[in-house]
Amino acid sequence: MQAEMSDVMRRSRSRDGAPPLPLAGEGWGEGISTKKTPLEEQALSRIASLDAMRPPPQAGEVKQARQQLQRIEERRPLHKLMLRLSLFGALALVAAPAHAFIAYVSNEKSNTVSVIDTDSWTVTKTIKVGQRPRGIDFTRDGKFVMVAVGDDDTIQVIDAKTQSVVDSLPSGPDPELFAQDAAGKILYVANENDNTVTVIDLEKRARLGDIQVGVEPEGMTISPDGKTLINTSETTNMAHFIDTSSRQIVANVLVDARPRFAEFKHDSSEVWVSSEIGGTVSIIDPKKHEVIGKVTFEIPGLRKEAIQPVGIGMTKDDKTAFIALGPANRIAVVDVASRKVTKYLLVGQRVWHMAFTPDEKYLLTTNGVSNDVSVIDIVAQKVIKTIQVGELPWGVTIAP
């Protein structure tokens, strides 16, 4: 350990001999322990005390050292991992290949949607769509993919068979995220530019009305019983609870700054809302409309501001939640019962949204800055693959 540490510190200081950055796909499996050995502490404080006034001719050098340090931290419980792997390794790794699913990834900057085959883990097609594609979701029948193209003020519809754009929906201006009811008949769209949620009849392709909400509506989700729509507004910092039958706001719950995403537990007992700037996930009781708990994050060696929770995914058994931490480049694995982070998985850069394969064997995450998608093996809680997609991948959906 000692040798490795000093080795890393030395290498990271040299201009040319710097080792490559850890790759997202390398996935060291076991999470970060918060306990530091004295040596690591020393190294950390050494990095922290590097004079801010020092000119950094080797830009990124310190960051590199820091990442190396994290790499070591993540490697430390390697023996534990080995033990674990030997226990269920046969199950997790040698099991027959799952049957293939198709994932669609919206690439915000390249105005495309990448189609990924989950058997070969390769991009099989790139579909040209409108400008600034972000929110993306399959229709309930699995026949179409809807993608919000914000700068074209519409939602485009992709035929999953021909994998091409066949139609568009009358959303309001600048649609970003949307939610559909259980029957797949009504679509609710968050329109960032005019503080409204637009209600669309999917069959008639017609706009049914608008609901006035807070400043910059973003996150959207519907309760499993279909009665309540949750919308988060980024500058108002609230989760708005909307009655889907009357289309009226019934409650507003204040959460931390810049709420981005909302997710119901499958048993309807809780709504989880991520706050990107606040750096927390608020857990709301949907009956009492009160915040009943918060998930907080701490990653050694990483400044607090870099932890910006966005996307949330919850397993069907409601036992485990996965939370994307944006520029922290990690997915937090959270034990839902205790609301504690059990592990941080290193993925690509600026991770935002995610989708499970229907068999819940894998979780796909979109990593905006590194232009790739990480594949997480749910059982092993390990990143097994990184797939290059278009520029600034934003959202992902998988055929049901």
Partner: protein, 393 residues
Amino acid sequence: MIRWLAGLIGFGLAATSAFAAEPVLIGVGYLGVATTRSTLSLVEQPAENDGIAGARLAIEDNNTTGKFTGQRFALEERRIKEGEDVVQAATALADKNGFIIADLPADALLKVADALRDRGTLLFNAGAIDERLREADCRANVIHTAPTRAMLADALGQYLVWKKWSRWLLVVGSHDEDKLFADAIRRTATRFGAKIVQERTFEDKGGARRTDSGVTLIQRQMPVFTQQAPAYDVLVVADESEVFGGYLPYRTWDPRPVAGSAGLVPRSWDAAQDQWGAIQMQNRFVKLNSRRMTALDMQAWTAVRMIGEATSRTNSGDVKKVTDFIKGPDFSVAAFKGTRLTLRDWNLQLRQPILLVDGRMVVSVSPQEGFLHQVSELDTLGYDRPESKCKLK
């Protein structure tokens, strides 16, 4: 009705319930000067509503939230004309408003702060970038949303050093504020290891900013003024008074980039900033004000949003309660800069990333990668706690 009236005239009224029948009224005053400064570039000439336009948008944003929290925000504007008594105007504003956004020169701001000290009014300095307002002359009732000269200079310096343009030719105007900015640039050079290879002063000999054949003359003057300089990577110009800085880009004797008051400029905000969800706010601003958003607009917007953030978090319109929350450890505000903004508790300066802009694009955002700090990387910009001379009173 009584309650509404009380809310209108009294700023001390606390919200009792989030869904009270009548909303709690929160008054925000805006105090500025009536004159606008002259700029070299016609494009950069500030609009008459520079600053307050940002406050107006934030009032709208706060009121959208206020619909759900039972709070209503109102803005009252007051512009001081030449020779008018600023204290009198401020006192009149403070009668009706518990919060005042100020865009005033340093001395006027200090006068107002001291006059309102015992009234409990909370002031936001949205305009003055003077270091001394956060240092020797800091006040416990003034929060600064405007960045300081040192923050701006450090933001620029970090980028230049990152770019390895570390030999600077410093050109300074002859006015006081030019010299203050030059001081900040010198401090930055020392901190980050850049070298000022030579300094030159450009004397302001008067003359009109707009002439019909100006370009011909300038094209001859500027190369001559910058010739025979020692080897340098970038010309850094300190010309806050807008006398000559804008004339330098593309006209230097040696082909070198220009930064500082012209060329690559450090600013708290820019009309071109569209990252981190900013496009939504830029759109709202243009819709409301029919022009693009400036740094001063943003500094005023942030101040009013800070008030809105604190009133919704405390569920109160009480100035004391709101002030305590803003100054407390749990306060932060989101302002489309990719990170939460917090207050430096030792001098009430808002920590914030600084954009480096060229008039068309955002070139970079500081702090730059690799400039580390044990508390917040934003504290690598400007005077840090151990250096501060501020004792809040």
